[in-house]
Symmetry: C2
Subunit: 221 residues, 2 copies
Amino acid sequence: MTVETAPNESANRERIEQRILNAAEQIFSVHGYRGASLQAIADKAELPKANILYYMGSKQALYVRLLNRMMRRWNAVLENITPESDPGEVLSDFIRTKIVLGQRYPDGSKLFAAEILAGAPFLDEYLAGELRDWVASRAAIIRQWSLQGKMDDVDPRWLIFLIWSATQHYTEYSAQITRVLGRDALNEEDLASITQFLEHVILKGCGISLLASSQASSAAN
Amino acid sequence: MTVETAPNESANRERIEQRILNAAEQIFSVHGYRGASLQAIADKAELPKANILYYMGSKQALYVRLLNRMMRRWNAVLENITPESDPGEVLSDFIRTKIVLGQRYPDGSKLFAAEILAGAPFLDEYLAGELRDWVASRAAIIRQWSLQGKMDDVDPRWLIFLIWSATQHYTEYSAQITRVLGRDALNEEDLASITQFLEHVILKGCGISLLASSQASSAAN
DNA sequence: AACCATATTGACCGATCGGTCAGAACAATC
DNA sequence: GATTGTTCTGACCGATCGGTCAATATGGTT
């Protein structure tokens, strides 16, 4: 039984920690690091404030944990990309995946955006290390696609930034978009239309001919 | 002399108010509305805290004034656009102007972004009123361009959002971009390269043929 | 029942928050 | 040199901030 109780206890702890993390993600995403208060997070999580600090140690530790959790969610993006890949398929998948991730984790995405806006004081290492390497390696492959004549000779870094910005926009600027469109929220139809638009413009804009590959319907991955 | 002293005095007041507004813009742009403190703004402006409140009334009034100032700066964008305009010229100009505005007013742009991230509590009226009309009227004209065969049949609203996001990205995400690129800041050369890239991809992506207008190189389609 | 590690939380701490106010400092008019 | 209106600011207010801590509650082991 001792073998079973341990996981049970830690499972309970895990449940509470997730409740705190989700509440904190909401508060931080709206008000940023400095603007968020532990009291507001505690209220959202329906726990006493002292309990938040018991589990998370400090405001900063809680915040950093949220950033790490969000970064881990992005790990799958553009994972298997090679010089032999089809640019149309890969970029389509890139666009679709980013749109979906933004819709799945709106609070985390906004939290990340707020951190960057604030000058990324807690993300120095990640941005200048992991992420820089990520961009450099993908850029090198895209560069090869251009040399192979698979697409126009565009700067791959600007292309990556373009896809990032265009997709993230619909999460981070949702308050503006819904008001401009006069809606409560974007529905599935909107998102499909937006995704198709971005695929059309970006792929065509890079001189990528749509072969037998993706577009509206097929395409596996 | 009495006629001259009055404007002199109010000119002095104007000078101080601008100093406060610029300091506040910096602080708010980094920490958002709730995260910013009047003390930090006062320190940045090198004035006593009570002086800030003497000139601005309250934290909220100061913040709203900054939002209005920023919105006024955007008024010139896409001002003279007609169904007879050349899409390539207009959209090129749109892209270039947005890039320049972001570089000219980085703090104001970030302040605006933070307000949207927070759910735009102070911008309801503007977004659902002025800005919605602005988008609707421009979208109607772009729609006509499509009908005239001047460009592909894309949703004009997504096109406007794309240009907004792609250009604003280089201001609001400057902290991420500089670290990923390993630079201190973007220089003129970078900005020219980025602008040209965006013009190339977006115009070509919308099926707009580059006539006798601008652009540096060729590009078929 | 005794024991112990972990969980829980009300009460409290010094610092800082936005905002008020009385009075000093200043400048122009008579 | 009074008078008057504006500018300026130190001192202060109640509320809230992140964080600490002692006391209590809980649950499994012996």
